[in-house]
Protein backbone atom coordinates (compact mmCIF):
# COMPACT_ATOMS: atom_id res chain seq x y z
CA UNK A 1 0.00 0.00 0.00
CA UNK A 2 1.24 3.44 -0.88
CA UNK A 3 0.10 6.57 0.83
CA UNK A 4 0.84 10.05 -0.42
CA UNK A 5 1.00 13.14 1.73
CA UNK A 6 1.99 16.70 0.89
CA UNK A 7 5.24 18.43 1.72
CA UNK A 8 4.97 22.22 1.71
CA UNK A 9 7.69 24.82 1.46
CA UNK A 10 7.41 28.35 2.85
CA UNK A 11 8.87 31.19 0.84
CA UNK A 12 9.22 34.84 1.79
CA UNK A 13 8.50 36.04 -1.72
CA UNK A 14 8.80 39.63 -0.56
CA UNK A 15 9.87 39.98 3.06
CA UNK A 16 8.08 42.78 4.89
CA UNK A 17 9.62 46.04 3.79
CA UNK A 18 8.66 49.70 3.48
CA UNK A 19 9.26 51.84 0.42
CA UNK A 20 7.92 54.98 -1.22
CA UNK A 21 9.07 54.80 -4.85
CA UNK A 22 10.29 52.21 -7.35
CA UNK A 23 9.23 48.62 -6.91
CA UNK A 24 9.69 45.46 -4.84
CA UNK A 25 9.94 42.12 -6.58
CA UNK A 26 9.82 38.44 -5.67
CA UNK A 27 10.07 35.44 -8.02
CA UNK A 28 9.74 31.71 -7.33
CA UNK A 29 10.28 28.63 -9.48
CA UNK A 30 7.22 26.33 -9.35
CA UNK A 31 8.22 23.99 -12.16
CA UNK A 32 8.12 20.89 -9.93
CA UNK A 33 5.43 22.07 -7.54
CA UNK A 34 1.82 20.96 -7.40
CA UNK A 35 0.55 24.50 -7.04
CA UNK A 36 0.92 27.07 -4.30
CA UNK A 37 -0.89 29.55 -2.10
CA UNK A 38 0.05 33.21 -1.96
CA UNK A 39 -0.78 35.79 0.72
CA UNK A 40 -0.25 39.50 0.06
CA UNK A 41 -0.69 42.59 2.18
CA UNK A 42 -0.21 46.30 1.57
CA UNK A 43 -0.15 48.75 4.46
CA UNK A 44 -0.28 52.51 4.02
CA UNK A 45 1.20 54.92 6.50
CA UNK A 46 0.22 58.50 7.20
CA UNK A 47 2.16 61.76 6.91
CA UNK A 48 1.91 61.70 4.00
CA UNK A 49 -0.33 59.03 2.59
CA UNK A 50 0.56 58.10 -1.00
CA UNK A 51 -0.89 60.12 -3.87
CA UNK A 52 -0.52 57.04 -6.08
CA UNK A 53 -1.50 53.72 -4.51
CA UNK A 54 0.77 50.71 -4.28
CA UNK A 55 -0.55 47.80 -6.33
CA UNK A 56 0.55 44.16 -6.32
CA UNK A 57 0.91 42.57 -9.74
CA UNK A 58 0.87 38.78 -9.61
CA UNK A 59 2.54 37.40 -12.74
CA UNK A 60 3.16 33.91 -14.09
CA UNK A 61 5.68 32.65 -16.59
CA UNK A 62 5.19 29.82 -19.09
CA UNK A 63 8.92 29.25 -19.49
CA UNK A 64 9.83 25.61 -18.78
CA UNK A 65 13.42 26.58 -17.98
CA UNK A 66 15.05 29.02 -15.61
CA UNK A 67 13.61 32.47 -16.05
CA UNK A 68 14.71 36.08 -15.71
CA UNK A 69 12.77 38.48 -13.51
CA UNK A 70 9.78 40.15 -15.16
CA UNK A 71 11.17 43.11 -17.12
CA UNK A 72 10.11 46.51 -15.81
CA UNK A 73 10.57 49.45 -18.15
CA UNK A 74 9.65 53.00 -17.26
CA UNK A 75 7.86 51.70 -14.18
CA UNK A 76 5.64 49.29 -16.14
CA UNK A 77 5.88 45.50 -16.27
CA UNK A 78 6.51 44.26 -19.79
CA UNK A 79 4.16 41.34 -20.37
CA UNK A 80 4.37 38.81 -23.19
CA UNK A 81 8.07 39.36 -23.77
CA UNK A 82 9.32 36.50 -25.94
CA UNK A 83 12.41 35.87 -23.83
CA UNK A 84 10.65 35.83 -20.49
CA UNK A 85 7.07 34.96 -21.25
CA UNK A 86 5.56 36.68 -18.23
CA UNK A 87 1.81 37.21 -18.17
CA UNK A 88 -0.57 38.82 -15.74
CA UNK A 89 -2.27 36.45 -13.30
CA UNK A 90 -4.12 38.99 -11.18
CA UNK A 91 -3.69 42.49 -9.77
CA UNK A 92 -4.40 43.53 -6.20
CA UNK A 93 -5.06 47.23 -5.77
CA UNK A 94 -3.96 49.30 -2.81
CA UNK A 95 -5.46 52.66 -1.87
CA UNK A 96 -4.31 56.21 -1.17
CA UNK A 97 -6.02 56.40 2.23
CA UNK A 98 -3.80 57.12 5.20
CA UNK A 99 -3.16 54.09 7.42
CA UNK A 100 -5.30 51.87 5.21
CA UNK A 101 -4.31 48.20 5.28
CA UNK A 102 -5.24 45.67 2.60
CA UNK A 103 -5.11 42.06 3.79
CA UNK A 104 -6.10 40.22 0.66
CA UNK A 105 -7.59 36.72 0.73
CA UNK A 106 -5.04 34.12 -0.35
CA UNK A 107 -4.53 33.45 -4.05
CA UNK A 108 -4.38 29.86 -5.26
CA UNK A 109 -1.68 29.29 -7.85
CA UNK A 110 -2.63 26.33 -10.08
CA UNK A 111 -0.38 23.28 -10.41
CA UNK A 112 0.40 24.04 -14.06
CA UNK A 113 2.10 27.34 -13.27
CA UNK A 114 5.86 27.21 -13.90
CA UNK A 115 7.02 30.43 -12.25
CA UNK A 116 5.27 33.05 -10.16
CA UNK A 117 6.27 36.64 -9.44
CA UNK A 118 4.92 39.46 -7.32
CA UNK A 119 5.72 43.05 -8.20
CA UNK A 120 4.71 45.82 -5.79
CA UNK A 121 4.67 48.95 -7.88
CA UNK A 122 3.15 52.39 -8.55
CA UNK A 123 3.43 53.93 -5.07
CA UNK A 124 4.31 57.62 -5.04
CA UNK A 125 4.66 60.34 -2.42
CA UNK A 126 4.01 58.15 0.58
CA UNK A 127 5.41 55.16 2.44
CA UNK A 128 3.84 51.71 2.23
CA UNK A 129 4.71 48.42 3.89
CA UNK A 130 4.39 45.31 1.74
CA UNK A 131 4.73 41.58 2.29
CA UNK A 132 4.13 38.44 0.19
CA UNK A 133 4.37 34.85 1.49
CA UNK A 134 4.09 31.71 -0.58
CA UNK A 135 3.50 28.07 0.31
CA UNK A 136 4.47 25.67 -2.47
CA UNK A 137 3.20 22.07 -2.56
CA UNK A 138 5.14 18.90 -3.30
CA UNK A 139 3.86 15.32 -3.07
CA UNK A 140 5.83 12.73 -1.12
CA UNK A 141 5.30 9.16 0.02
CA UNK A 142 4.26 8.77 3.67
CA UNK A 143 6.92 6.64 5.35
Amino acid sequence: MTSLILNKTSIDLVEYTTFSAGYQLGVYDLREAHGALLSVRIKNFSSPSPTFACNAYICISYTDDEVDDPPIEFGEIVFGDADNCWFSFTTLYGTVSANDERNFPPIEIPAAVQHVAVVFNDVLNGVVGVEAKLSAVYVVEDE
Binding site: S3, I5, K8, S10, I11, S39, E108, V137
Partner: protein, 139 residues
Amino acid sequence: MVDFTLEKTSIDLIDAVVVPSGGSTWAGQDMRTAHGGILSIYIANGWPASGESFIVPMTVYVMLSHNSGETPVVTYVPGTNWFTFATLYGNTSNGKAISFPPIEIPDAAQHIGVITKFNYGASVTVTAKLSVVEKVVSE
Protein backbone atom coordinates in the same frame (compact mmCIF):
# COMPACT_ATOMS: atom_id res chain seq x y z
CA MET B 1 -4.77 -0.58 -12.29
CA VAL B 2 -4.32 0.81 -8.79
CA ASP B 3 -7.24 2.52 -7.05
CA PHE B 4 -6.47 5.51 -4.86
CA THR B 5 -8.83 6.71 -2.15
CA LEU B 6 -8.76 9.64 0.24
CA GLU B 7 -8.32 9.33 4.00
CA LYS B 8 -10.17 12.07 5.88
CA THR B 9 -10.21 13.09 9.55
CA SER B 10 -12.91 15.07 11.37
CA ILE B 11 -11.68 17.65 13.87
CA ASP B 12 -13.64 19.64 16.46
CA LEU B 13 -11.56 22.76 16.08
CA ILE B 14 -13.83 24.74 18.42
CA ASP B 15 -16.39 22.56 20.19
CA ALA B 16 -19.41 24.68 21.21
CA VAL B 17 -17.34 27.11 23.26
CA VAL B 18 -19.32 29.83 25.03
CA VAL B 19 -17.46 33.11 24.55
CA PRO B 20 -18.50 35.64 27.20
CA SER B 21 -19.01 39.32 26.42
CA GLY B 22 -15.60 40.85 25.66
CA GLY B 23 -13.98 37.41 25.44
CA SER B 24 -12.31 35.46 22.67
CA THR B 25 -11.59 31.89 21.68
CA TRP B 26 -9.19 30.45 19.16
CA ALA B 27 -7.81 27.24 17.72
CA GLY B 28 -5.22 26.33 15.13
CA GLN B 29 -4.70 23.25 12.99
CA ASP B 30 -1.50 21.93 11.44
CA MET B 31 -2.16 21.21 7.74
CA ARG B 32 1.46 20.78 6.65
CA THR B 33 1.09 17.29 5.22
CA ALA B 34 -2.62 17.49 4.40
CA HIS B 35 -4.31 17.65 1.01
CA GLY B 36 -6.54 20.53 2.08
CA GLY B 37 -9.78 20.51 4.03
CA ILE B 38 -13.18 22.04 4.54
CA LEU B 39 -14.21 24.23 7.46
CA SER B 40 -17.69 25.07 8.76
CA ILE B 41 -18.41 27.68 11.40
CA TYR B 42 -21.59 28.08 13.43
CA ILE B 43 -22.25 30.83 15.93
CA ALA B 44 -25.26 31.23 18.21
CA ASN B 45 -25.89 34.48 20.02
CA GLY B 46 -26.83 34.33 23.67
CA TRP B 47 -29.08 36.76 25.48
CA PRO B 48 -27.86 39.89 27.21
CA ALA B 49 -28.17 40.11 30.98
CA SER B 50 -31.19 41.92 32.37
CA GLY B 51 -30.84 45.67 31.80
CA GLU B 52 -28.06 45.21 29.21
CA SER B 53 -28.10 44.97 25.43
CA PHE B 54 -26.12 43.25 22.71
CA ILE B 55 -23.91 46.10 21.44
CA VAL B 56 -21.22 44.64 19.17
CA PRO B 57 -21.54 41.44 17.12
CA MET B 58 -18.96 38.69 17.06
CA THR B 59 -16.39 38.65 14.28
CA VAL B 60 -14.82 35.32 13.33
CA TYR B 61 -11.44 35.52 11.64
CA VAL B 62 -10.21 32.55 9.61
CA MET B 63 -6.46 32.93 9.31
CA LEU B 64 -3.77 31.24 7.23
CA SER B 65 -0.13 30.67 8.16
CA HIS B 66 2.71 29.94 5.75
CA ASN B 67 5.02 28.82 8.58
CA SER B 68 6.85 25.58 7.86
CA GLY B 69 7.24 24.94 11.63
CA GLU B 70 4.60 24.19 14.23
CA THR B 71 1.30 26.07 14.31
CA PRO B 72 1.86 29.55 15.75
CA VAL B 73 -0.43 31.06 18.41
CA VAL B 74 -3.40 32.36 16.41
CA THR B 75 -3.95 36.09 16.11
CA TYR B 76 -6.37 38.12 14.02
CA VAL B 77 -3.67 40.72 13.32
CA PRO B 78 -2.20 39.96 9.86
CA GLY B 79 1.50 39.89 9.09
CA THR B 80 4.56 37.67 9.61
CA ASN B 81 2.87 34.54 10.99
CA TRP B 82 -0.76 34.86 10.03
CA PHE B 83 -2.59 36.23 7.01
CA THR B 84 -6.28 36.83 6.47
CA PHE B 85 -8.16 33.99 4.83
CA ALA B 86 -11.76 35.06 5.51
CA THR B 87 -13.70 37.27 7.90
CA LEU B 88 -17.19 36.23 9.05
CA TYR B 89 -19.53 38.69 10.72
CA GLY B 90 -22.21 37.88 13.25
CA ASN B 91 -25.04 40.17 14.29
CA THR B 92 -26.61 41.54 17.48
CA SER B 93 -29.98 39.79 17.32
CA ASN B 94 -30.62 38.13 20.66
CA GLY B 95 -30.54 34.34 20.36
CA LYS B 96 -29.86 34.41 16.62
CA ALA B 97 -27.77 31.57 15.14
CA ILE B 98 -25.79 31.64 11.90
CA SER B 99 -24.35 28.66 10.05
CA PHE B 100 -21.88 30.09 7.55
CA PRO B 101 -21.25 28.46 4.17
CA PRO B 102 -18.24 26.11 4.31
CA ILE B 103 -14.78 27.40 3.50
CA GLU B 104 -12.58 25.22 1.33
CA ILE B 105 -9.01 25.08 2.60
CA PRO B 106 -6.56 24.73 -0.31
CA ASP B 107 -3.95 21.97 -0.48
CA ALA B 108 -1.14 24.47 -0.01
CA ALA B 109 -2.38 25.80 3.35
CA GLN B 110 0.19 24.96 6.05
CA HIS B 111 -1.82 26.03 9.10
CA ILE B 112 -5.36 27.25 9.60
CA GLY B 113 -6.48 29.34 12.54
CA VAL B 114 -9.89 30.45 13.77
CA ILE B 115 -10.21 33.26 16.29
CA THR B 116 -13.26 35.16 17.53
CA LYS B 117 -13.33 38.75 18.75
CA PHE B 118 -15.44 41.70 19.71
CA ASN B 119 -18.80 40.37 20.94
CA TYR B 120 -19.94 42.84 23.60
CA GLY B 121 -23.15 42.73 25.58
CA ALA B 122 -23.87 39.01 25.38
CA SER B 123 -22.14 35.66 25.09
CA VAL B 124 -21.86 33.77 21.79
CA THR B 125 -21.47 30.01 21.38
CA VAL B 126 -18.97 29.06 18.69
CA THR B 127 -18.48 25.79 16.83
CA ALA B 128 -15.83 25.20 14.16
CA LYS B 129 -15.66 21.80 12.43
CA LEU B 130 -12.88 20.80 10.09
CA SER B 131 -12.51 17.85 7.74
CA VAL B 132 -8.92 17.29 6.71
CA VAL B 133 -7.90 15.19 3.72
CA GLU B 134 -4.91 13.54 5.40
CA LYS B 135 -3.52 11.38 2.62
CA VAL B 136 -4.12 9.61 -0.66
CA VAL B 137 -3.96 5.83 -0.18
CA SER B 138 -3.65 3.00 -2.67
CA GLU B 139 -5.88 -0.03 -1.99
